[in-house]
């Protein structure tokens, strides 16, 4: 089956998911991102690489952080950025996703950064662009339903590489609501592609998807056992609406059994790093003592995220 995010020469055409991308492309993105981290430290934080390009941030779902980091990334590359919060726009008037896309294409868009509540929405856009012979327009998935959040997965890889150098000797644990997490799926795809020998997921059975082991991970329900000797702990956000009901009885009980505390973190290797995609629920999935502690690399993740997004935009649309 043709991978819709690669062009016929095997180069990146869109970034829709980590799944199916070869290791070389992931490494190329991380390598391209490295020099961009320095741009932020300059007095003039701008490069002319995407000058004249129009990038549409198309957010069908609320987001402040991700949209902002994409906006900063695009602006540092000198692109023109247009933000559309569709919650307040046409979709609420009944316009279909593809009609919105067609209209923005008619405004000479060069790239869409899209977030959508439905898994697969960016694939639909990419297919439509191919069907209408508009391959010069690129799509970056900024999160679709439970499916994928590839730039988050990549910035996490950048962070791990920064602190741990070599992927091939690591044990990594992903903790929490894996079932609903597009971040977890992209992390798993990236970690396994980059050669991490052991990826674990930890959570109660209600939050681990069916056949998770088929993704190449080991499933743990006991957090202490799952954290034993890990090098990297990747916490996931637990959405408010899932804290009480049929999936979990209460945030307190979740914190007791699956919240990352100093005590539980002691099961990991002494030099383990702790990551979180944000925004954090302190006292639900992570204790403040850990979030603000010496193992946490949560703020560097945010900084690296801008460089990684700049790299992806450049690789897609840079001349």
């Amino acid at each position: 089956m043709h991978n819709p995010q690669l062009n016929k020469d095997g180069a990146l055409q869109h970034l829709l998911t980590i799944d199916g991308l070869p290791r070389e492309i992931l490494n190329a993105i991380l390598d391209t991102a490295a020099p961009f981290t320095e741009v932020a430290e300059r007095e003039v934080k701008k490069l002319p690489l995407l000058r004249g390009k129009s990038i549409f941030n198309l957010f069908f779902e609320n987001s402040t952080r991700t949209r902002t980091t994409f906006e900063i990334a695009a602006k540092r590359l000198s692109a023109d950025v247009i933000n559309l919060n569709i919650g307040t726009s046409s979709a609420s008037k009944g316009e279909s996703l593809l009609d919105t896309v067609d209209n923005l294409c008619a405004m000479q868009a060069d790239m869409f950064v899209v977030r959508h509540a439905m898994s697969g929405a960016p694939f639909l856009m990419a297919k439509h662009l191919a069907d209408t012979r508009q391959e010069h327009i690129h799509v970056i998935n900024a999160g679709d339903g439970r499916h994928a959040h590839p730039t988050q997965g990549l910035l996490d890889m950048y962070t791990i590489r920064h602190y741990k150098k070599d992927f091939t000797r690591l044990v990594v644990a992903i903790v929490g609501d894996v079932l609903h997490s597009r971040v977890a799926r992209s992390q798993i795809g990236a970690l396994t592609t980059l050669g991490v020998p052991e990826v674990r997921v930890i959570g109660p059975k209600t939050l681990i998807p069916a056949d998770a082991d088929r993704l190449g991970v080991r499933v743990f329900h006991d957090m202490r056992a799952g954290l034993k000797d890990v090098d990297v702990v990747m916490m996931l956000r637990l959405q408010n609406e899932r804290m009480q009901g049929a999936l979990l009885p209460s945030p307190q009980e979740f914190f007791k059994y699956y919240g990352l505390t100093v005590d539980k973190l002691a099961c990991a290797r002494p030099d383990a790093i702790v990551m979180h995609p944000g925004p954090m629920n302190r006292g639900v999935e992570i204790d403040s003592a850990v979030a603000d502690g010496q193992h946490a690399v949560i703020l560097p993740q945010v900084t690296f995220g801008i460089a990684v997004r700049m790299a992806v935009m450049c690789m897609l649309a840079g001349s």
Partner: protein, 426 residues
């Protein structure tokens, strides 16, 4: 009109015929197979050399979309698709708009269909008003109006007391009830089989136990009420096992599967292909294998197209929002042949599943070519190859996961009550 179908290879599963024979038709009926009756003078001779002559196909589920969804398909377009697919009798589920829960609607549908002089239409009446699962319909009136059995289409009766009463009432008159075994709580929000592919793609899943739990509940009610029940669209090995056990127990049950589930599995969703969004969901390759064997062995009584034409606008949406269903009337025959070829089944056995066996499920005099039977006949070229595309499909619905597939089995003529309803040469 007297028709002489000459030199064809007659395959008539019900009568165990699998040989080159001529077929003679007069006054809408078969009047001779092999030998012409005395003084037979044909008005028309159909040369069937190299072709298979079999009973017209009987499709246990084809949505015609009238009334209410004419923008998806019309009776005209779908009846043309039926005869182009060799289908001479079809069952339409009651999930139209309005729902087929009133005799007047059923009469109108039957009348409109009759005027097209095309395939025979057997509507399923709604089991509950509006398919809402709350109040019983006037089943006896609906039966008088032409309903062949009663169904909820894809909808469920969640209130078990209402369901038991509905089944008791249907059993009172000896009506069969056709239900989709799916637990509505477990299936809620689900759009794909709960397994590897749904996990990978982040799609809300429907577990196999949604089917097995529903089957246990329905089978308990069959035992309780004595109603005869037909299970629509079994999708899993475990579900099929439950049906097999019920049959062994002697319960009055039957079941069908769709052409999509016979050939596809969860992997065919690929990168969110909305044409693979189906109800029930495509399951694992092991499930598909069980269905293929079950159809060969007879645990599955019939194969149906589950024809569901959907307009482009309803499919050009993210997978989870795309309307479920696939067009299928014209694919029923070629996909039956494909399955038979892959399992090396003799055609006389394979074709039973789309002719005499569905006739038995329906309890109608059709699906065979004995003398005096209605002359509903399908004449096809088993080696005629073609690629499925929007332009080869007569149905208004071009939505099928088989777009682009190379299939063999082209219908050349379809006869309904002795008149040529479809001639591929015209």
């Amino acid at each position: 009109m007297k028709i002489h179908v000459k030199n064809g290879h007659v395959i008539d599963p019900a009568n165990g015929i699998d040989a080159q024979k001529d077929v003679f038709i007069a006054a809408g009926r078969i009047v001779g197979v092999g030998a012409a009756p005395g003084s037979f003078a044909a008005n028309r001779v159909i040369d069937a050399t190299g072709l298979v002559v079999c009973p017209g196909l009987i499709d246990l589920s084809a949505r015609l979309r009238e009334p209410g969804y004419e923008y998806k398909a019309t009776l005209e377009s779908e009846m043309a698709a039926a005869v182009a697919g060799g289908v001479t009798s079809l069952v339409c589920p009651p999930d139209t708009d309005p729902v087929l829960d009133e005799p007047g609607l059923v009469e109108m549908l039957k009348h409109r269909a009759r005027n097209l002089a095309s395939a025979h239409v057997y509507p399923l009446g709604a089991l509950t008003v509006g398919l809402a699962g709350e109040r019983l319909t006037e089943m006896a009136e609906l039966f008088e109006a032409g309903c062949i059995a009663f169904s909820q289409a894809n909808a469920q009766v969640t209130d078990t007391r209402v369901l038991m009463r509905a089944l008791q009432y249907a059993a009172t008159f000896g009506y069969k009830v056709w239900l989709q075994p799916e637990d509505s709580y477990l299936a809620r929000d689900g759009v794909a089989h709960e397994g590897e592919v749904a996990t990978r793609l982040g799609l809300p899943g429907i577990p196999v136990c949604a089917e097995t739990i529903a089957l246990s509940r329905l089978l308990a009610l069959v035992r309780e009420t004595g109603v005869a029940m037909h299970f629509r669209r079994i999708s899993s090995a475990a579900g099929l096992e439950a049906v097999a056990e019920a049959k062994a127990e002697g319960l009055p049950v039957s079941c069908d599967i769709s052409i999509n589930h016979l050939h596809l599995c969860e992997q065919d969703i690929g990168y969110f292909n909305p044409h693979a969004r189906l109800i029930p969901p495509l399951r694992t390759s092991a499930d598909r294998e069980a269905l293929r064997q079950g159809l060969a062995g007879g645990t599955v009584d019939a194969l149906c197209s589950d024809h569901t034409p959907v307009d482009d606008d309803a499919k050009q949406l993210p997978f989870g929002e795309a309307e479920a269903g696939a067009t299928g009337l014209e694919l029923l025959l070629p996909l039956t042949l494909k399955w038979a070829g892959e399992l090396q089944l003799p055609l006389v056995k394979a074709l039973a599943r789309i002719t005499s066996d569905p006739a038995r499920v329906l309890g109608i005099q059709a699906g065979h070519l004995a003398v005096d039977a209605p002359a509903d006949v399908c004449i096809f070229d088993p080696h005629g190859n073609y690629k499925v595309s929007a332009s080869t499909l007569k149905s208004q619905g071009k939505n099928t996961p088989f777009l682009g597939a190379d299939l063999s089995g082209r219908v050349r003529y379809t006869l309904i009550e002795g008149h040529v309803a479809y001639d591929s040469g015209r």
